[in-house]
């Protein structure tokens, strides 16, 4: 499964949104209805699924689906 699809699946499961809503430009809070607690949990799920740590500073920059995909791609390159 592609990175995009894995990210999308986690978001769909966690936030209960439809797969077609999970576009790269979708903002977790304003478009996908996440609150601050949802975001914490979402970051924990990304950490668990991709086996990495996301610091609070990094997490605060991850506002959209595209931000997360870009971040994970970069982490993958670093690794």
């Amino acid at each position: 499964m592609s990175l995009e699809n894995r990210v999308s699946e986690i978001i769909v499961n966690k936030l209960g949104v439809k797969p077609e809503e999970v576009k790269p430009e979708a903002d977790f809070q304003t478009d996908l209805g996440a609150d601050s607690l949802d975001l914490v949990e979402l970051m924990m799920d990304f950490e668990d699924s991709f086996g990495l740590k996301i610091t609070d500073e990094e997490a605060s920059e991850l506002r959209t689906v595209g931000d997360v995909i870009g971040f994970l791609e970069k982490k993958d390159l670093e690794a």
Binding site: L15, G16, L37, V40, E41, M44
Partner: protein
């Protein structure tokens, strides 16, 4: 202000004996037990392997998927029962001012399933894996927080936590809150989802639970000589309490009047009732006095009647102390825990509903499982079968670990 009359205009229940108030009442009157072998966890390591579970409960039938994931079971049950009560009241269609609608919901424990799950996660994977939803899912006030969001109830809102008297206190304090002018209507009741390793194991450790595992449906046997403990159960029960004038003006269907409540404490022992059951007796006498009635007026008592060795004779003695022996022998006293099991924090609200329906329908629900009364339990417990009776005024008792006693007095309208 303090002379305001408070009435019941809505009821909801989601319990082992039914998923609506109608189903619960029908089961209570018919004496149909909701007690079965436990399915929510493997009961084999526990001395008590039976419980009252809500049958075939699938939260997604009632709540959207996201809400299901963000709520402990005790909150889910509360939302479902509160929706029924509020729907039945008709308040939503009557232009109810949300700021005048309150919510007071008790739970003896709160989100113990969530507590256990996240505690296990923390032990296995470290404290940084604790869910950010752990605290808001576990805390025992979240049922009333969530119900308020669900029904847009912006008035007075808090939780009561007094073990098995929790929803008795929720209702009693809701009555007072309406009398004091804090709200025109309050959704009040209780909820509990205790069938977990720690909930079940904790009560097993106290030797409080029945071990009649080979005969679940008669295991909760209040006042019986062979009773051997209570049967743990889950569920929620809610009522809508309303200022009588508010209800009358909007043409509401009024089911009964909650006349007054008595609240006392034994100040004696953490779990055992006081000598002579004086705390429970005082709460009954206070409820009658505050209702402006006399003890002769009491037509029926829905007992706390848990089926434990200590409670049943003690409550029997309290009834005799409160009413005097002659009157105590002359009225029906029944325990609907015989079929529901012990709903803990939801018990008081469920039993208030049964008491109100007994008055409204003219039917006394039985102590369905009572076979041979204990020598020390010699009142008329409405053994086995329901009975028709013209009831004008009745009491419902709720007693909790901690020595808490609540009696709610209900009148025909």
């Amino acid at each position: 202000m303090v002379n305001k009359r408070i009435v019941l205009t809505g009821m909801g229940a989601f319990t082992p004996i039914g998923k609506t108030v109608f189903e619960c009442w029908d089961s209570a009157v018919a004496g149909r037990s909701g007690i079965r072998r436990i399915t929510l966890l493997d009961p084999s390591p526990f001395s008590s392997k039976i419980a009252g579970e809500v049958k075939d409960y699938d939260p997604s039938e009632y709540l959207d998927r996201r809400l299901v994931r963000r709520t402990d079971r005790f909150t889910q049950l509360a939302i479902i029962a509160a929706r029924e009560a509020y729907g039945q009241s008709g308040l939503a269609d009557s232009g109810m001012d949300p700021t005048r609608l309150g919510t007071i919901i008790g739970s003896g424990i709160g989100g113990i399933e969530t507590l256990e799950r996240d505690h296990r996660t923390a032990l296995e994977r470290g404290p940084d894996r604790i869910s950010p939803f752990f605290c808001p899912m576990m805390i025992s006030n979240m049922a009333c927080g969530r119900v308020a969001i669900d029904l847009n109830a912006k008035g007075i809102n808090y939780a009561t936590v007094t073990a098995c008297a929790s929803s008795g206190h929720a209702i009693a304090t809701a009555v007072d809150a309406i009398r004091l002018g804090h709200a025109d209507a309050i959704i009040a009741g209780g909820t509990e989802a205790p069938i977990t390793m720690m909930g079940l194991g904790g009560f097993c450790a106290m030797k409080a639970l029945s071990t009649r595992n080979d005969d679940p449906q008669t295991a909760s046997r209040p006042f019986d000589k062979d009773r051997d403990g209570f049967v743990i159960a889950e569920g929620a029960a809610m009522v809508v309490l309303e200022d009588y004038e508010h209800a009358r003006e909007r043409g509401a269907d009024i089911m009964a009047e909650v006349s007054a409540c008595g609240m006392t404490c034994d100040a004696h022992h953490i779990t055992a009732p006081a000598e002579g059951a004086e705390g429970c007796a005082r709460s009954m006498m206070l409820a009658v006095e505050r209702a402006g009635r006399t003890l002769e007026d009491v037509d029926y008592i829905n007992a706390h009647g848990t089926s434990t060795r200590l409670n049943d004779p003690s409550e029997t003695e309290a009834i005799k102390t409160a009413l005097g022996e002659t009157m105590a022998y002359g009225i029906p006293v029944s325990s609907t825990k015989s079929v529901t099991g012990h709903l803990l924090g939801a018990a008081g609200a469920m039993e208030l509903i049964f008491t109100a329906l007994a008055i409204k329908e003219g039917i006394v629900p039985p102590t369905a499982t009572l076979q041979e009364p204990d020598e020390e339990c010699d009142l008329d417990y409405v053994q086995g079968e329901a009975r028709e009776a013209d009831l004008q005024f009745a009491l419902s008792n709720s007693l909790g670990f901690g020595g808490h006693n609540v009696t709610i007095a209900v009148s025909r309208v």
